[in-house]
Symmetry: C2
Amino acid sequence: MRLIAIVLAVVLPGMALADPLPSWNDTDAKAKIIAFVDSVTDPAADTYVTPADRVAVFDNDGTLWAEKPMYVQAFFALDRLKAMAEKDPSVLSSDVLKAAAEGDMKTVAASGEKGLLEIIDTTHTGLPVETFIEDARTWLATAKNPAKDKRFEDMVYQPMLELLSYLRDQGFSTYIVSGGGIDFIRAFSEKAYNIPVNQVIGSSVKSKFEMVDGVPTVIKEPGVFFVDDKAGKPVGISGRIGKRPIFAAGNSDGDFEMLQWTTAGEGPRFGLIVHHTDAEREFAYDRDSNVGKLVRGLDEGPGLGWLIVDMAKDWAAVWPDE
Amino acid sequence: MRLIAIVLAVVLPGMALADPLPSWNDTDAKAKIIAFVDSVTDPAADTYVTPADRVAVFDNDGTLWAEKPMYVQAFFALDRLKAMAEKDPSVLSSDVLKAAAEGDMKTVAASGEKGLLEIIDTTHTGLPVETFIEDARTWLATAKNPAKDKRFEDMVYQPMLELLSYLRDQGFSTYIVSGGGIDFIRAFSEKAYNIPVNQVIGSSVKSKFEMVDGVPTVIKEPGVFFVDDKAGKPVGISGRIGKRPIFAAGNSDGDFEMLQWTTAGEGPRFGLIVHHTDAEREFAYDRDSNVGKLVRGLDEGPGLGWLIVDMAKDWAAVWPDE
Ligand SMILES: [Ca+2]
Ligand SMILES: [Ca+2]
């Protein structure tokens, strides 16, 4: 394989001249990211990290794609519930489910975690994992964000796509670590982010193996198996990846522990928070938001050396079709 | 990257002439494995499988390394318990723990699952995941199988190491899917099998994220989180890998559902069972064994098209140092 190494040595230096992050403005944020990547990939530096340990983790909602006015998966659950109720109205067996099908989000919100789980159990369980993923894929093919009249899948952040590619080009493995449902994310991770399904970590309901009409099948079951949020994120990463990342990106206090754990390790570490400051091109929100609430990250992040990305200032473009 | 493709095209055909499985005798078993791999890697064949879908899963105990007279992890737990009791005798707070520390396996066995969990909780929890893995690594460096006076790490099966390498060379991802503890396996998977820690799936206790003296830490906690055995294996694979394997290898009825699910998928599939028939070089056991009990696999496997590997007949060598 020595021949390949020579080919790479000849080809790669030329490629490195191109700007790896063209949709990032030439601000401190971009310079800091590139300086970090250079520091861990330079074999001569004492900050060098072997490719096997170049693990980068990314939150999804609000970090890789938009989460306003409501999580994409919440839109999916409500559409799915409505479709189910059209076929069989008896599906709406409780006040919360009736309210959800009518789009009465106030009542749904007031029902708290219990109501949310009822909606998840009704719309996300009782079918094979593979069927659920296909259903989500079908829905995503046309579903739009009502606030922007854009397909959800087109509301991924171009600068973050470039960051993912850049890290991978530099020998990193890139993982999604989301509070959202793992099977929902698996419906689009490959297409949207070039992240294979085995590099998706998320929350999940229980599942079981069963013979269905003689066919071995894995079925999604009611009840929570794992909540991949807040302190659950380091736990999920430890269980799934088996090592501590050296790079973590998030946008809310649900990512605090993940960044805290990542950046407390020895050697070079990078914590990145996407701060939604761009009401014009995307949305502006932080401390008082219903989704993506960001308080500790803003207050403590800079002191911990984390990069707070100012979307309005640091991003030259937001969307891929811009 | 076209240049690399050309280099590979020039170099690889020459390499393919070498025997990929030198420690396998020239029996049907070897021919069937090679025919399967050829069928899924030939781009011109209608059985071709894209590299991203070439997922191969391997049970560990009895499939990749020896499991007699007792699981390696059981030896580890007992040694650890004894070491803990030497430092602090109050650790042995129950009859089962006392019996275990004295090597009275009859009493331990009679205590059933409850007793086993007590031993696991005592020896495998209450410490950081990273520390546990280091401890297991230290123990494995010298620990020996009393029945063969060989280091456990030297009792991996040379033919299976070759099979793992062969599959990887042919674009497969290789995963361990074990009923054993995930963190224990992570202590040796890379060194013993060239399988990175993120490709280890196993049973696990709970874990939690906590600040310990100001240091963000993931700690192993008492209580079962997931049992990766029997019907749990397809569930574990679905949750972790997110797709159905096309190749599965096991040695006991704990692998039945994994092979059943794997081989029921569309397109070419391979199920392999290591049948321990070699009392001279390794151990001979199946239907009546305390570990690695194999009944359904022998009775139903051949009818399902699975390959039953006859260790005595199909393997030219068993151990790497032979
Ligand atoms: Ca988020
Ligand atoms: Ca086994």
